[in-house]
C-alpha cells in the first residue's frame, strides 16, 4: 500500500499547524479574489510570489495552490448571487445559478456548488496521488528530443483551447517564447536583445510580465468598460439542498468530476475549459424537456460546472508535478514559485522532495474541506465585499502589484517593466490577442531552446531524431492531428460555439 504510506506522509506535512494556517490563508485569499471581479488567480499569485520568499517551500506552494482552487469556490458565489462571475471559470454557473437565486433558491445553489466542488476536489486529489508517481517514473525515460516534442504538443493544445483566432494564438505563443529568450544565453554567455541594459541581461522577470498583462492590463480594460453591478438584496435562503436536489445533481456531479479531471490534465486545460465543457455536456444529456429547462434555474447546471472546474484546477497539477511542464498560466506561475525556492519542477521532485510533493497533494484535500466548512457561513461577508466599488479596488490592486514586483529583485527596473507590459496587455486585449498562451510560451521558451539544442547536439544536427524516438514521434503526430482537426471547418464552428455559450 504505497499510496496509503505516501498519503500519510503527506497528511503528516499538511496537518502541521503552520501548513494548515497557510492553506487557510490561501483558501481565504483565493475565495476573496474569486468573489471580486476584475482580479483573477494569475494576478494574485503573481503579486504574492515575492511574499513567499520567507516561507518554507512547502508552505509557500500550499498557500499558492489554495489561491487557485479557492478562487473556483469564490467565483461561484458571485455568479449565483449577483449574476456576476468573479472568475471566468464560473461564467456558466451564472446561467442557472442566478435564475435559482431569483426563485429564492440561492442557498440551495450555493450549497450544491460547494458540495459538488468538495466531492470533485476529493476525487481529483486521489487521482493526482495515484497517477503522479507512475507518470513521473515514465517521464524519467524522456530524452531532450522527447521533451521538446512534448512542449510542442503542450503549446499546440493550449492553442486549441484558447478562444478566438488560432493563428493569433500561435503567434502569441511564439512572441512569448522570444520574450523568454531575452537575457544571457546559458550556453554562450551572450546577452541577447538586452540593448546594453544591465538589468535586461538577467532576462525579463516573468512575475513582471504576468502582473503587467494580467494585473495592470486588466485594470485598464475594466476602467474602460465602466461598472455595471447589480446590488444583491434577495434572501439567500436555506443552504442545505433538498433530497430531490441531491437526487437530481448526483449524476451531474459525477460527470462533471470525471470530465473536469480529464480536461485538467490536458495541456492548455484547467478550470475554465472544464466548466464550459461540462455545462454543455449536461445540457445535451438533459435534452430539451429538462425541468426546469437549462438556463431557467436547473440545479444540474450549477452542480456540473462547479464540480468540473474544481476537479480541473486540481488535476492540472499533474503535468506540472510529473513533467515539470505547466499546462496553463497559473501553473506557469507555480513553476516560478518552485524556482524561487530552488526546486526544479519535474519528475525528480517526487523522489528528491517527497515531503513537498505529498504534502502539497494532501493539503489540497485539507483545503477543500476548509472551503466547505468555512465558506458557507462566510457567504454574507463575501457579499458585503462586493459593495466595495471598483474605483477604490483598482488603486489597491495597483499598490500590491507595484510593491510585489519591486520586492522580487529589489529593483526599480521591474516596476518600469510592469508599466510597459500593462500598456502591452491593454493593446493585446483590444486587438483580441489572448495573453495566456504568451505566458506559457514565456515560461517554456528557454526550456524548449535548451532541449532542442541538446537533442540536435546528440544527433549531430540531424532533425530526424525527433521522428526516430517513439515518444517524440508520438507527440509530434498528436500535435499534427490536433492542428489538422483545428483546420477542419466543422470542428472550428463547434469550438467557436463552446466559447460563446448562450
Amino acid at each position: 500500500m504505497d499510496l496509503l504510506n505516501n498519503l500519510s506522509l503527506g497528511f503528516g506535512v499538511a496537518l502541521t499547524m503552520t501548513n494548515i494556517l497557510y492553506a487557510l490563508v490561501g483558501c481565504l485569499l483565493g475565495t476573496l479574489i474569486g468573489v471580486l471581479p476584475g482580479i483573477g488567480p494569475v494576478a494574485t499569485i503573481a503579486m504574492l510570489l515575492p511574499t513567499t520568499y520567507a516561507l518554507p517551500p512547502v508552505s509557500a506552494l500550499i498557500m499558492l495552490a489554495g489561491i487557485y482552487y479557492g478562487a473556483q469556490y469564490g467565483g461561484s458565489t458571485t455568479a449565483i448571487l449577483v449574476n456576476l462571475p468573479g472568475e471566468s471559470s464560473s461564467v456558466v454557473t451564472a446561467l442557472d445559478g442566478y435564475q435559482m437565486a431569483r426563485q429564492g433558491r440561492a442557498g440551495a445553489a450555493l450549497g450544491m456548488a460547494a458540495i459538488g466542488s468538495f466531492i470533485a476536489g476529493s476525487f481529483s486529489t486521489l487521482l493526482v496521488a495515484a497517477f503522479a508517481p507512475p507518470l513521473s517514473e515514465a517521464a524519467l525515460k524522456f530524452g531532450p528530443a522527447d521533451y521538446f516534442s512534448l512542449m510542442v504538443l503542450g503549446l499546440i493544445a493550449a492553442v486549441v483551447l484558447a478562444h478566438g483566432s488560432v493563428v493569433k494564438a500561435i503567434a502569441m505563443i511564439v512572441l512569448g517564447i522570444v520574450l523568454g529568450l531575452v537575457g544571457t544565453d546559458v550556453n554562450s554567455g551572450v546577452a541577447r536583445y538586452s540593448f546594453d541594459t544591465p538589468e535586461l541581461t538577467d532576462g525579463i522577470g516573468f512575475v513582471a510580465v504576468a502582473m503587467g498583462i494580467f494585473g495592470i492590463g486588466e485594470i485598464l480594460i475594466n476602467l474602460e468598460k465602466g461598472e455595471a453591478r447589480e446590488i444583491f438584496t434577495a434572501k439567500v435562503g436555506k443552504l442545505l439542498p433538498t433530497a430531490q436536489d441531491f437526487k437530481d445533481s448526483a449524476g451531474a456531479i459525477t460527470r462533471g468530476t470525471l470530465l473536469g479531471s480529464l480536461l485538467g490534465i490536458l495541456p492548455g486545460g484547467g478550470a475554465l475549459l472544464a466548466s464550459f465543457s461540462s455545462y454543455s455536456l449536461e445540457k445535451k444529456m438533459a435534452g430539451a424537456n429538462a425541468k426546469p429547462a437549462f438556463g431557467k434555474g436547473n440545479i444540474r447546471g450549477v452542480a456540473a460546472p462547479e464540480s468540473a472546474n474544481n476537479a480541473g484546477a486540481q488535476t492540472s497539477f499533474i503535468p506540472l508535478l510529473t513533467l515539470g511542464i505547466p499546462p496553463n498560466a497559473v501553473m506557469a506561475l507555480m513553476v516560478g514559485a518552485m524556482t524561487i525556492h530552488n526546486i526544479q519542477p519535474g519528475p525528480q521532485v517526487i523522489t528528491a522532495n517527497p515531503q513537498l510533493f505529498w504534502g502539497l497533494i494532501a493539503s489540497m484535500w485539507v483545503g477543500n474541506l476548509m472551503l466547505v466548512i468555512l465558506n458557507l457561513p462566510l457567504i454574507g461577508m463575501w457579499v458585503q465585499l462586493l459593495k466595495i466599488p471598483y474605483r477604490l479596488l483598482y488603486p489597491m490592486i495597483l499598490v500590491f502589484c507595484c510593491i510585489g514586483v519591486y520586492t522580487v529583485n529589489n529593483t526599480t527596473f521591474d516596476v518600469w517593466i510592469i508599466a510597459v507590459f500593462g500598456v502591452v496587455g491593454y493593446i493585446f486585449a483590444k486587438l483580441e490577442c489572448e495573453a495566456a498562451p504568451l505566458l506559457l510560451g514565456f515560461i517554456l521558451g528557454p526550456m524548449m531552446e535548451e532541449n532542442l539544442r541538446r537533442a540536435l547536439l546528440l544527433s549531430r544536427g540531424s532533425p530526424s531524431v525527433f521522428l526516430e524516438r517513439p515518444i517524440s514521434a508520438t507527440m509530434l503526430v498528436l500535435s499534427l492531428i490536433l492542428l489538422i482537426i483545428l483546420a477542419m471547418p466543422a470542428i472550428r464552428k463547434k469550438r467557436d460555439e463552446t466559447f460563446v455559450e448562450d
Partner: protein, 153 residues
C-alpha cells in the same frame, strides 16, 4: 483608409510582423552556429521568422474580411486611463528608493485614482491612508523587506 484602423486582425498581424522582423534581424548580431552546435542566434532567428510569417497570415485574414471590419464600430481606444496609470506606476518606481514607500504609495493611489469615472477624493484619501498603513505593517514591519518608509528613514 480610416476603416483599416477598425481591423483588429490587420493591426495585430502588422504588430506580429514588426516584432518578428525585429527579432529576426536582431539575431544577426549573435552567432548563428549550425544545427548540431547552435549559437545564441539560431533559435531567435527561426522564431522571429516564424512570427513574421504568422503575422502575414493574420494580416491577410484581416484584409480578406476588411468589408466586415469596416462595418464594425471600431476598436475604441481609450488612452486616458492608460496614460494616467502608466504615469502613476512610473512615478511610484521613481519615488520608491529615494523618497520611501509612503510617498510612493500616495503618488500611486492618488494619481491612478483620477482615472475612475466616478472619482471621489475623500474616499481616495482614506484608501491611501489604509494602504500606507497596511503595506508598512505587512511588508516593512511584518516581512521585514528592505524598503524605507520615509525620505529620512
Amino acid at each position: 483608409m480610416n476603416s483599416f484602423f477598425k481591423n483588429k486582425d490587420l493591426l495585430a498581424g502588422l504588430m506580429f510582423i514588426v516584432i518578428g522582423v525585429v527579432f529576426f534581424v536582431g539575431a544577426y548580431n549573435y552567432q548563428m552556429g549550425t544545427a548540431a552546435r547552435m549559437g545564441p542566434g539560431y533559435f531567435p532567428r527561426i522564431l522571429g521568422g516564424v512570427m513574421a510569417v504568422l503575422g502575414v497570415i493574420v494580416a491577410g485574414i484581416g484584409l480578406k474580411n476588411q468589408a466586415q471590419w469596416a462595418a464594425t464600430e471600431g476598436i475604441g481606444w481609450t488612452w486616458k486611463p492608460v496614460i494616467i496609470l502608466t504615469v502613476a506606476v512610473v512615478l511610484f518606481g521613481a519615488a520608491l528608493q529615494p523618497l520611501g514607500m509612503v510617498i510612493a504609495i500616495i503618488l500611486l493611489t492618488i494619481i491612478s485614482g483620477i482615472a475612475a469615472h466616478d472619482k471621489n477624493y475623500r474616499e481616495l484619501a482614506i484608501i491611501t491612508a489604509i494602504m500606507c498603513l497596511f503595506c508598512a505593517a505587512v511588508f516593512v514591519w511584518g516581512l521585514k523587506l528592505q524598503m524605507k518608509l520615509f525620505p529620512w528613514s
